[in-house]
C-alpha cells in the first residue's frame, strides 16, 4: 500500500455492513491519498454502491471506521459529512426537479459559502453564490439550459447536472457513482473530460462499469468482489493481476477493449 507521511484523504478500516443476516460489505480496508483519482470496480452486487452509501453517511456501518482527512466520520449524518468536505453523486439521478438548472447549482453552493439557513440575505444579491453557480454551469456545459426546470432536461443533461451539484460546493473528496451509466459513446467521452476537469486537484473515488473510462481516468483501481477488496493497484497492476482476471475482469475487459483505445 502507500504509507505516505500525510494522512489519506479517505480511509476505510475494517468496514462491514449487514442487512439483516446478509453481510454485504465484509471488511473493507481502503486508503485513498490526497489528489488521487481512484476507481472502484467489481461485478454487479459486489457492494460498490453500498460502500458509497456508507462513506457518505446514507447508511450507518455495522462495524469498522471511516476517516476523512484523518478525522473519524463514522456514524455522522450525510449533511455533517458533506460539511466536512465529502460530496457524492448518485447512480440514479438525484436532482431538484422543479428548480431550474441554475437554482439547482446555487442550492449546492449555499452552505459551502456560509449562507446556511439565512433568511436575511437576498439570494440575487449574493454575488459569490451566483458566480460559483455560473462557473459550474459553464463547466458542465449547461449554460443554454440555465432557466429550464431540471426535471425537463434530457438524461445526459441530468447526469451532467448531477455531477455539477456534486462538485459545486467545492468538496475536496468527490465520490461519483457511475457517472457514465446509460450514456452513448460520445456522451461518455464528454463526461470523462468533464470529470477530469472538475476533479482537478481533488480526491476522486468513482464507481464505474465502463473499463475504458476506468483505465482512462484512474490513477489506481480497487476491485470489490462480494463485499471484499481483492486487489488495489495501478491500472497496469490490476490488468496483470491474475486473481482479478479470474474473478471479474477477464470477460469484461475483452468486451470493453474498444472504447479504451478509441479515446484520444
Amino acid at each position: 500500500m502507500n504509507p505516505g507521511v500525510t494522512k489519506p484523504a479517505l480511509e476505510l478500516a475494517g468496514v462491514k455492513k449487514s442487512f439483516g443476516n446478509t453481510e454485504i460489505i465484509r471488511g473493507v480496508d481502503l486508503a485513498i491519498p490526497k489528489g488521487e483519482r481512484h476507481a472502484l470496480i467489481g461485478p454487479n452486487g459486489a457492494g460498490k454502491s453500498t460502500l458509497f452509501n456508507l462513506m457518505s453517511g446514507r447508511f450507518p456501518v455495522s462495524a469498522g471506521a471511516i476517516r476523512l482527512d484523518g478525522e473519524d466520520i463514522t456514524g455522522l449524518k450525510p449533511f455533517q459529512i458533506n460539511r466536512r468536505g465529502l460530496s457524492r453523486s448518485f447512480q440514479i439521478t438525484n436532482i431538484f426537479h422543479n428548480l431550474s438548472v441554475f437554482e439547482n447549482l446555487r442550492c449546492a453552493v449555499l452552505w459551502a459559502l456560509g449562507y446556511k439557513y439565512s433568511f436575511w440575505h437576498r439570494l440575487d444579491s449574493l454575488a459569490d453564490a451566483r458566480r460559483r453557480a455560473e462557473e459550474v454551469l459553464l463547466a458542465i456545459g449547461l449554460e443554454s439550459r440555465r432557466a429550464r426546470p431540471a426535471g425537463l432536461l434530457t438524461y445526459a443533461e441530468q447526469r451532467a447536472l448531477e455531477i455539477g451539484i456534486t462538485i459545486a460546493g467545492g468538496a475536496g473528496v468527490v465520490l461519483l457513482d457511475e457517472p457514465t451509466a446509460g450514456m452513448s459513446r460520445s456522451e461518455t467521452a464528454h463526461v470523462v473530460e468533464l470529470v477530469r476537469s472538475v476533479t482537478e486537484g481533488k480526491t476522486l473515488l468513482m464507481v464505474e462499469h465502463d473499463m475504458g473510462v476506468v483505465f482512462n481516468l484512474a490513477d489506481r483501481i480497487s476491485v470489490l468482489v462480494y463485499g471484499e477488496v481483492i486487489a488495489t493497484g495501478t491500472p497496469e497492476e490490476i490488468r496483470a493481476n491474475s486473481a482479478v482476471q479470474e474473478a471479474y475482469l477477464g470477460g469484461l475487459h475483452k468486451e470493453e477493449s474498444g472504447p479504451e483505445e478509441s479515446h484520444a
Partner: protein
C-alpha cells in the same frame, strides 16, 4: 442587467396591489363590503403563511390553525391587559404580539412535527391540532370555554383621531399588515432558506448531501410560517373582538388548505386568489344560501379534478399563448364554454336550492324565489326545468369543452413545434 425588466414589473404589481387595497373601501362603502375585504386581508396572510409550508416547503399540514388560533388567544389576552392598563401597547402592534406567539408555538410544536416529512408530518400535525383543540376545553381560564374570550379593541386616547372603533380604520390596519406580510413572505421565498425549502420539498435526500439538515430547514420554515399565521390571528382578534376554540379547530386548518389549493400552491400569488375566493364563499355565499358549504365542496372537487394547479396555474397557462398572439383564437371558445358552463351551474343551483327547500327548509312552506322568479319547489314544472337545464346545458357544455380542448391542443402543438 438581465433581472431589471422583471423588477420593474414587480414594482408595478406591488404598487397596483397597494393602490387596490387603498381604493377598494372607497369604492365599496357598505359595511358588508368592508367586512368582506377585511376578512380577505386576514385570510391572505393566513393562506400565504400556509403555503410557505405546503407550496414552498412541501409540508402538508392539517393543523395550521393551531398557530393562528393560539396567536389570536395570546393577542386577545394582551389586548385585555392593555385596555386594563397592565401593559403598554398600541393596538396597531397587536398583530406582532400574535405573530411572536405563533412563532413561539411554532418552535415548540414544530420541533415535534418537522422531525419527519411527508405523510408522517401530516399525521402529527393532525394530532397536534386535536391536542390543542381539546386543551381549549380543558383549560377554560385561558381559552374561555365555549364562549371564548371577548375583548374591546377600543381603549385609551385616540391617536391622530384614530381609535380603531370604526370598521374602516380596522380595515386599513389589516391592509397595512397584509401588504407588509405579503412583501416579507415574498422576500422570504427569495432568501437562501426559502430556496433551500424548495430544494427540500423537491428532494430532501439530495438536500442532505449538499450540506443541509432537512429537519432544521423544515423547522425554521415552520416557525416563520407560524409567525405570519399568528399575525393573521392577531388581526382576527382585533376584527371580531372575540376568540373562541373555533380559531384553533380542524375546520380552520382544513379551510386554509382548501383556500391554498383552490388558488394554486405552485405560485406565490395563488394563495392570495384562493384566500379571497374562500372568504367570498364563506362570508358572501353563506348570506345567500344555506348550501354554501356544499357549493364550496363541489368547487373544491372540481378544482382538484380539472385544475390541480389551482386558479394560478390556469392563469399562468395563458401567458405563452398570449405571448404568441394566439389568445384571440381562444376567446370565442372560452366564451362558449363559460356560457354553457353557466347553464350547468344554473341547473346545479336550482336543483340544490329546491332540494334544500323541500327537505331542510320545508317547515317554512315550499314557495321560493330564484333568479327573480317565485315558484313552488314542490311543483313539477320547476323540476322539469331543472332537468331540462341539466340535459341541454350538459350537452352544450360538453361540446364547447371539447372544442376548447381541441383548439388548445392545436395551439400547444404549434408552440411546441416552434420551440424545437
Amino acid at each position: 442587467m438581465r433581472y431589471q425588466p422583471l423588477n420593474l414589473g414587480r414594482w408595478i404589481i406591488w404598487g397596483f396591489t397597494a393602490l387596490l387595497m387603498i381604493v377598494l373601501p372607497l369604492v365599496f362603502k357598505s359595511g358588508f363590503a368592508i367586512t368582506l375585504i377585511s376578512q380577505m386581508g386576514i385570510a391572505i396572510i393566513f393562506t400565504l403563511s400556509y403555503n410557505m409550508l405546503l407550496g414552498q416547503g412541501g409540508m402538508l399540514s392539517f393543523g395550521h390553525a393551531v398557530y393562528s388560533g393560539l396567536g389570536a388567544y395570546i393577542a386577545v389576552h394582551a389586548l385585555n391587559m392593555a385596555s386594563k392598563g397592565q401593559l403598554w401597547m398600541p393596538l396597531s402592534l397587536l398583530p406582532l404580539v400574535g405573530g411572536l406567539a405563533g412563532a413561539f408555538f411554532g418552535v415548540i410544536f414544530g420541533y415535534v412535527t418537522t422531525k419527519r416529512a411527508g405523510t408522517t408530518f401530516a399525521m402529527i400535525t393532525l394530532g397536534i391540532g386535536e391536542l390543542v383543540f381539546n386543551c381549549s376545553l380543558m383549560f377554560p381560564g385561558f381559552f374561555g370555554g365555549e364562549g371564548g374570550i371577548t375583548t374591546n379593541r377600543v381603549f385609551g386616547e385616540p391617536f391622530l383621531g384614530i381609535n380603531f372603533g370604526p370598521a374602516i380604520q380596522v380595515y386599513y390596519l389589516i391592509a397595512v399588515w397584509c401588504l407588509l406580510s405579503m412583501a416579507l413572505m415574498y422576500a422570504w421565498s427569495h432568501t437562501p432558506l426559502g430556496r433551500i425549502a424548495n430544494a427540500v420539498r423537491d428532494n430532501p435526500e439530495r438536500a442532505e448531501f449538499v450540506g443541509y439538515d432537512t429537519q432544521k430547514v423544515r423547522w425554521l420554515t415552520l416557525i416563520i410560517s407560524a409567525f405570519f399565521a399568528g399575525v393573521a390571528g392577531g388581526l382576527a382578534c382585533i376584527t371580531f373582538e372575540i376568540v373562541t376554540a373555533e380559531n384553533v379547530s380542524a375546520v380552520r386548518s382544513g379551510g386554509v388548505l382548501l383556500a391554498a389549493f383552490i388558488g394554486g400552491v405552485g405560485f406565490f400569488f395563488g394563495p392570495i386568489i384562493g384566500a379571497c375566493l374562500f372568504v367570498y364563499f364563506v362570508v358572501a355565499l353563506a348570506d345567500h344560501t344555506k348550501a354554501w358549504l356544499l357549493y364550496l365542496g363541489l368547487f373544491f372537487m372540481a378544482m382538484v379534478m380539472f385544475a390541480p394547479g389551482g386558479i394560478a396555474s390556469l392563469i399562468m397557462m395563458q401567458f405563452p399563448v398570449i405571448a404568441r398572439s394566439r389568445f384571440k383564437e381562444l376567446v370565442p371558445h372560452y366564451a362558449r364554454t363559460g356560457a354553457t358552463g353557466l347553464l350547468v351551474l344554473a341547473a346545479l343551483v336550482l336543483t340544490v336550492e329546491m332540494t334544500y327547500k323541500v327537505s331542510v327548509d320545508s317547515a317554512n312552506g315550499t314557495m321560493m324565489k330564484m333568479f327573480g322568479v317565485a315558484f313552488d319547489a314542490a311543483g313539477v314544472v320547476p323540476w322539469a326545468i331543472a332537468i331540462g337545464l341539466w340535459i341541454v346545458g350538459g350537452l352544450l357544455f360538453d361540446k364547447a369543452r371539447k372544442r376548447l380542448a381541441h383548439a388548445w391542443g392545436e395551439i400547444q402543438a404549434d408552440i411546441a413545434g416552434a420551440r424545437s
